[in-house]
Symmetry: C2
Subunit: 256 residues, 2 copies
Amino acid sequence: MRRVSVIGIGAGNPDDLTLAAIAAIAAADVFFVIDKPGAREELSRARLAIIDRHAPGSGQRTALVEDPQRDRSAEAYVEAVDDWRARRATAWGRLIARELAGDEHGAFLVWGDPALYDSTIAVLDRIAADGTLAFELDVIPGISAIASLTARHRIALNRVGQAVLVTTGRRLAAGLDSDAADVVVMLDAGCAFTTVADRDLEIYWGAYLGTEDELLVSGRLADVADDIVRLRAQARARKGWIMDTYLLRKPSAALR
Amino acid sequence: MRRVSVIGIGAGNPDDLTLAAIAAIAAADVFFVIDKPGAREELSRARLAIIDRHAPGSGQRTALVEDPQRDRSAEAYVEAVDDWRARRATAWGRLIARELAGDEHGAFLVWGDPALYDSTIAVLDRIAADGTLAFELDVIPGISAIASLTARHRIALNRVGQAVLVTTGRRLAAGLDSDAADVVVMLDAGCAFTTVADRDLEIYWGAYLGTEDELLVSGRLADVADDIVRLRAQARARKGWIMDTYLLRKPSAALR
């Protein structure tokens, strides 16, 4: 039976790779590498460098996956993503059927942890649910952007007995629906932290975590929000893309 | 200057170790191993096995840290933890000062990711804040129990555009203060999922993740909650300890 591994490769530092990920890379016959046009080219190259380093087998090959465009202008976010995933499932299913022989082992390399704001598992589930292509799925966990962010800031994510909310920039901009002491924000292209009313919150922000371009800023929102907006815009203009995430933290005194 | 690394070693599978963790283990002069009496002995042995495997240096040594007892009967949870951390800081500070020469590199190996419901970073911060012992701190992220749980169940943690709450068994038992679509529960010694009113929630539960004792159960709370309670009690009786975590998921239909 065909096998497909979804392998978490960490948030940017090549040394975030686990022994399990390295073993899975060494064992794969085909690497499915998603070819994102333009800005994300650098990330594709970084993935290929990991494959080069850890997959020395001469029989191993790479299949470029052409990724359908997502309608980012659509009003209905969930429906737009759903439609995009459906088109992805069709395209990936065809490619896997063509490239992977019946007893072979394919691999998708995913930044961070495959469980967190990544659609690879969901798309593969759709292919399996279709019933046209049978394969065994396994998932190798990776160092998430959240673990990388807190490690680089040398902080714990939660406070004693407190909860942590992981949410999106879109949800934060619409107003927080939780009183969690700590809030991690992912997928925020619009600096939603500037819309937060409580300027006494502490922010721990990081971009290009674990790479040589890494940027880290922390402090009171009132003090550092403008710096982050400026730094972020500069970095994005310079590199053509940005991956960043942040933690919003209620001051400890506010928790007692 | 003294250096102390807090190294995430993953949730139980020795192959969860990252290249960065392995390099930090190889570079350490002294391993501070917390000697938990009784039940957790097996975990200490597993830590020592990792050190044996990845720290072949003849000059490397191990210092056993005697851990102060925590008052688990105290009504005031936060205060009891705070007092325990203060006593930990005093004991650890003395030990580090004694065992680690001025230019040496010490290491604490932490299960999962050091940022998540672990107090090692907080205790070291207290020692540094004390001002009696100067050291440089770095943190190596690890595969968290959450990443391990979702990988073993082969699921994503979040749904499209939705938030995830990470909370404790204690908080869940007191009533959820969030309408997050997915809720991860940590540190639940009392099966708080049995107190949740909505029995249509899906639960993804795992214990001893990534080890040969691993247990996985998933399904509707109404269907599997009793099975988990029974399995958990049996496993705990057999091994003398348990480490488990779970995800409570609103059915997708409830999100539309």
